[in-house]
Amino acid sequence: MKTAKPLTDSLLYLNGVTVSFDGFKALNELSLIVEEGELRTIIGPNGAGKTTMMDVVTGKTRPDSGEVFFRGTADLSRLEEAEIANLGIGRKFQRPTVFESLTVFENLELALADSRGTWRTLVAQLTPDRRDRIAAILARIGLAENGGQPAGSLSHGQKQWLEIGMLLIHDRSLLLLDEPVAGMTDRETEETAELILELARDRTIVVVEHDMAFVRSLGARVTVLHEGAVLAEGSIDHVQNHPRVIEVYLGR
């Protein structure tokens, strides 16, 4: 649909989205709305469609049917990954994916909000204020001493943080975090929760997570996915006491 008038006031609007792989429905008529400024956690057993949902929003997977809109006007089901990223949607992958052979500093440099054109990147100069911005983010994610080190030599937890730093530096309006604390120590998990809460003050964040203690520490609205559709939605206590949720997920 190419209407200029917003369909909805919501930041992210999924309606009846279906994605199937060889007959298996990863998403089955999924409808989900995320409002501007919200912090939302999404839980669900393996294969519930959490990662597929993120793939659809970021343009990696095209839905078979259904509508996906950002700010009510941008039809995400028709845009390329790079175009979606430039609308202000950032994503952190399940497995930390940093650019291993580049330094930590250079990883952040690529994530800076800056022109993305091929020609512009050829002539781009790193100005002092951008350098300061990178230094500030390095300090914020606890990697101030590691700027010149190849990202491939970081520990698992440090890579997760670098990836969050790469989302931070770009000032995106919507962040999708796929299992941000996977493989982290308890201490790192706590620090990550604090960081996410701080980030959530001025942007919208959707977190997909398995770790219930972590989800509880975020204290946000929870959506439970099951077999590609929403099973329940509400506060963590509401969801944990929901009989269907206990049956399919928490009860196992």
Binding site: E81, T121, A124, R131
Partner: protein
């Protein structure tokens, strides 16, 4: 400061680099003519005439290797069809040289090259138009490989053909071109190609001074190509290319157009390969379809990996050393050459993966690659 070390742009153009670069170019430009021209021919230091075009040929190969290193070493695009771009540049130059022969051919036809007279062609085919002018031929040297790379790259990169699949289709491309150029009715001399050149810009191609001129042009072309590749790899685009080599889909999610970035370097690389081919042809005196053979393109990848890929200097060093070894060994013990070439490739893969340049550099300067570079995010 650890943060400053992350800045490649500054360190790429530090004064020490310019001193080294100008010393190398100066030595190549001055030493060869001096030893060839002014040293008495019977002295030990004298450079015999036949070595000048041989050295020039190595420099053309070095430029070709450099062009492959730009796409393979940095962007991770292993093109096994770069020999095709080299050969196309060479054919454009060959056509210019054929038109320069004029009435001095065996059949003395002022318009048609000998092979066309032999095949009973009555007039010059349309695609030979303009090749009697050097400027037109020079433009074609850039345009023909460039446009082919642009169209081929656009189709391949837009459809996200990567890795070994891309390598295979580039092999198919050069093989198809080889079969086409073997045909007599294509109008490019078929099997025999084009040879028996007389002069270039009115100078006899066999004269020592012309050969020195061509050699010097090759030095400058290589120097210019090196600076251009260094500029690109030290720029932010260079970091984008290295990033997409590590994790292509992650680069897309950062908002960069992977297709455009790849298309840009692939096309530029093909143009450099074409220029290398154009300089190669007058120095070796022939161009024929065997330049398109798939094996030739694979050999370029071996030069680059022996020298050290992703270093630019390594490509130049590798191309020159491997070809010097080839010249010597194919004279001394011809039947062993292919075994040596194969062994070199296995050795560089297993024992010194960073090539000669990697062996010379202090170990800590080599980026520590965490295990195998699995394209993370591709599977997620």
């Amino acid at each position: 400061m650890s943060v400053l070390r992350g800045d490649q742009q500054r360190s790429a153009w530090r004064p020490g680099f310019w001193v080294g670069f100008l010393t190398c170019v100066g030595a190549l430009v001055l030493a060869v003519p001096a030893l060839n021209f002014w040293v008495p021919p019977n002295s030990l230091a004298a450079l015999p005439d036949y070595l000048v075009p041989l050295l020039g040929k190595y420099l053309c190969y070095a430029l070709l290797a450099l062009s492959l290193d730009l796409v393979w070493g940095y962007a991770g695009i292993l093109s096994l069809g770069h020999g095709a771009f080299f050969a196309l540049g060479g054919y454009c130059m060959g056509m210019y040289l054929m038109r320069q022969i004029g009435t001095r051919g065996v059949y003395g036809n002022p318009l048609l090259p000998d092979f066309m007279v032999f095949l009973n062609w009555k007039e010059l085919p349309w695609f030979w138009w303009g090749f009697d002018h050097f400027v037109y031929a020079a433009v074609m040297v850039v345009l023909v490989p460039g446009v082919l790379a642009l169209v081929f790259g656009w189709l391949a990169f837009r459809s996200r053909v990567t890795g070994v699949y891309l390598s295979i289709i580039t092999q198919a491309m050069t093989y198809a071109l080889m079969l086409a150029f073997f045909r007599n009715d294509m109008g490019f001399g078929g099997n025999n190609g084009m040879t028996d050149y007389k002069d270039i810009f009115g100078w006899d191609v066999h004269r020592p001074s012309t050969r020195l001129g061509l050699y010097t042009a090759s030095v400058f072309a290589l120097g210019f190509g090196f600076l251009l590749c260094r500029y690109i790899t030290a720029s932010k685009l260079g970091r984008v290319l290295q990033a997409l080599r590590d994790a292509e889909s992650r680069v897309r999610f950062l908002g960069y157009s992977v297709t455009n970035a790849k298309l840009f370097v692939f096309t530029l690389s093909a143009v450099l390969a074409g220029i290398a081919g154009a300089l190669y042809v007058p120095q070796v005196g022939i161009i024929n379809p065997s330049e398109f053979s798939p094996g030739n393109s694979i050999e370029i990848a071996i030069w680059v990996s022996v020298g050290g890929r992703g270093t630019l200097v390594g490509a130049i060093v590798g191309a020159i050393l491997v070809n010097a070894a080839k010249t010597w060994l194919t004279g001394a013990a011809p039947e062993t050459w292919l075994f040596v070439l194969g062994a070199l490739f296995i050795l560089t893969t297993l024992v010194f993966p960073h090539g000669i340049v990697g062996l010379l550099r202090r170990p800590r300067l080599i980026p520590a690659r965490a295990s195998a570079p699995v394209p993370a995010g591709e599977q997620a």
